[in-house]
Symmetry: C2
Subunit: 292 residues, 2 copies
């Protein structure tokens, strides 16, 4: 008995092709694997890599699967969901992997045909690469996958999506939309915003200074550029989708930065040391949590 | 022929004990190694580790070496230099490893006895650990060491300190004080300030949210905590010593952050993507420079 008879991945990029690769290895996930995309080159590559049993540009065809996983950019989830939902069958589950929830939950919920469940999930895994070649079967191993089902979602559908992610190697947890977006704002979105910005600040330096900054980057700057290497369109969509919470978190950070700057300007030795020591404390907790 | 007859390291912590370890392995650096510190426990540990031929709390004794390397915190360099300079001999070289120059060059220059040279250097290497146990002989391997000699410093003294660092495995370059501090502000000081601050912002969250942020830290936040783990007193001193240039660099960054926030608030898709793309470009240059 497989978890699903058929599983369709719409958008077989880094995340989607990793799910397909995992399901190729663990045949307990689904009997039939379907890959769908609007980009013919992506579909050709998926065929060459042998990632799915059915490879199609026809969303209505992919929508007939028992489980449809939307792995399209955050900004495209709603449109693709609304296009596919009318073709989905009774008892089927729609899920996505969007890293920001915003209004997706309530909006897609209202469009659900009877007997179709929506159980979105956010696998907290990724690399700076993208496309069907970038995926690998162990991408989700020991990573968190956060489930964000709308209120009143069918419990057995939630369990099935939990099981899907567990079979992909992930640890799962159920959160509410707004809380999820708040956690992600500080865990991921704000760090990326700052990393992109410090790279931008460096880019705006004089040619000589910029060349030397790049030469001596090993002293900390490099660590910021690592997370600034990610896909611009994906991050643009994430920033826009989580606009309110992200800007509010940024305001808090800006106030804290101003506090540090004021302490440095005033030579307030104690305040500077306190602020630095708190940062160290958090690092120690991470090491204790085995996250560092 | 060794580079120096005797070499004294004042403050055998991470950097100082790494120099001693390297000089223990490469006997072409100095015939006699001296370690000096005001802390008796540090001296005991240096004796146990067998890092030096002479281990002393007497700065006047250590000052008699042909080369005196001050590895004390940035904030203590000037005071220790002024205490030792009167005991230094004709032809000897004073150096330090301070990561901010500020007014150190001109101030120490005016106190130099005739025939004594001052050739400070900044090895761009380190770990988050400190103390005589933290050092290792290969710490400087393939890392940059920036020399910042005051104007009119004796050329042969500069060459000798360059040679010292080359024998420690480092690549060397000579820079001017203010330019050095400007490069380090963006390469190292600003990233550390931001990293300490985002950790501080996380620390100020509600208990529940903070616990979850720590749980899901792998998505970017963790990379910031890595550089936030460094020694608070050292970084307090660095921030204060490079106050003007650092705050000016922070102002530029804050303006760029505000630009990004405004673009997000306005939904200015093109401006957001441009800013992100510039960050990616810098990352690619780093990879091309083999710094990433």
């Amino acid at each position: 008995m497989t978890l699903f008879k058929s599983l369709a991945v719409v958008g077989p990029g880094l995340i989607g092709s990793s799910i397909l690769r995992r399901a190729r290895e663990d045949r307990g996930i689904a009997q039939t694997l379907i890959a769908a995309d609007s980009n013919a080159a992506v579909l050709d590559r998926v065929r060459e890599l042998g990632l799915a049993d059915i490879v199609t540009a026809d969303l209505a065809e992919a929508a007939k699967a028992d489980c449809v996983v939307l792995c399209v950019p955050v900004g495209a989830v709603e449109a693709v969901a609304l296009e596919m939902l009318p073709y989905m069958k009774q008892g089927a589950i729609l899920t996505d992997v969007a890293s920001v929830r915003g209004q997706l939950g309530p909006r897609i919920s209202t469009a659900l045909p009877t007997g179709v469940s929506y159980v979105p999930a956010h696998p907290m895994a990724g690399t700076e690469h993208s496309g069907p070649d970038a995926g690998f079967a162990t991408l989700f191993e020991d990573r968190w996958c956060l489930l964000i089902p709308p209120a009143n979602t069918d419990t057995s559908a939630i369990h099935k999506i939990e099981q899907l992610w567990k079979q992909c190697g992930a640890r799962t947890r159920v959160l509410e939309d707004a809380y999820h977006d708040q956690v992600c704002a500080i865990v991921s979105h704000l760090p990326h915003l700052l990393a992109f910005t410090i790279c931008d600040t460096a880019d705006n330096l004089s040619d000589e200074l910029r060349a030397d900054v790049l030469e001596y980057a090993a002293s900390g700057f490099r660590d910021f550029t690592r997370i600034a290497a990610s896909d611009p369109v994906m991050w643009r969509d994430i920033f826009l989708a989580n606009r309110e919470i992200l800007l509010e978190t940024l305001d808090r950070f800006t106030a804290d930065t101003k506090g540090m700057a004021d302490a440095i300007r005033a030579g307030d030795v104690e305040s500077i040391t306190d602020r630095i020591a708190r940062g160290r404390q958090i690092r120690r907790t991470l090491i204790a949590n085995r996250q560092a």
